[in-house]
């Protein structure tokens, strides 16, 4: 069984540009989560999808961030326009239900210069 996959593994962009991160959850997992770790800080929750619906997006930092999960399968997280403070590692995770095992992806390292 394939795990949670994320693409790209690393992205370097200039301030003001747009970047789209992709997450493919484990097949059959209705719950999908995005987290972010800014350098040296804790990993912070961004949002939670149940199928294609946003269940909780309380952790999204501002309206420059847009997450989608069309069809309830893969998810994208777009940052537009990117700012320096957006640099960090973005983790995606998925689970079959909200009390079960959560599987994390390897993360996408975003560097904004």
């Amino acid at each position: 069984e394939a795990g949670v996959t994320q693409f790209p593994s690393h992205s370097v962009i200039e301030k003001g540009q747009t970047v789209t991160l992709r997450c493919d959850p484990i097949s059959g997992h209705d719950n999908l989560y995005w987290y972010r770790r800014v350098m040296g800080k804790e990993i912070k929750f961004l949002l939670h999808f149940v199928k294609e619906s946003k269940q909780d997006e309380s952790g999204m930092p501002n309206n420059r961030f847009l997450a989608e999960r069309t069809g309830g399968t893969y998810s994208t997280l777009k940052v537009q326009p990117a700012e320096l403070e957006d640099s960090g590692v973005y983790f995606c995770a998925s689970s079959q239900d909200q009390r079960g095992k959560v599987d994390f992806g390897p993360g996408t390292r975003l560097t904004v210069t």
Partner: protein, 114 residues
């Protein structure tokens, strides 16, 4: 405010030595407690979790953790460290209602000396 504190940013131990990584939390009630590990290039892997019951929890790779309610702590231990344990370790708490909106600590990076 809800928070998780991992006071040790870096820890270095010799292979074969014992290990204890500290974790303290601040939460309104007893949360669900987790330890994750991230090796280079890998995702976060669950080592163990505590929901209720026995306060000494056994996990994978020979790790264990003890929940101490009076100290709001959930320290991770291993009696004999292997070189492959070098990684970053994260303590996290979760809401007992079942959502996985975790609150993570800042992580402890473990270095193992041969």
């Amino acid at each position: 405010a809800q928070s998780v504190t991992q006071p040790d940013i870096h820890i270095t131990v010799s292979e074969g030595a014992s290990l204890e990584l500290r974790c303290n939390y601040s939460y309104g009630a007893t949360p669900y407690l987790f330890w994750y590990v991230q090796s280079p290039g890998q995702g976060l892997q669950l080592l163990l979790k505590y929901f209720s019951g026995d306060t000494l929890v056994q996990g994978i790779k020979g790790f264990e953790a003890e929940f101490k309610r009076s100290q709001s702590s959930f320290n991770l231990r291993k009696p004999s460290v292997h070189w492959s344990d070098a990684a970053e370790y994260f303590c996290a708490v979760g809401d007992p209602s079942g959502t996985y909106k975790y609150i993570f600590g800042t992580g402890t990076r473990l270095k193992v000396l041969a």
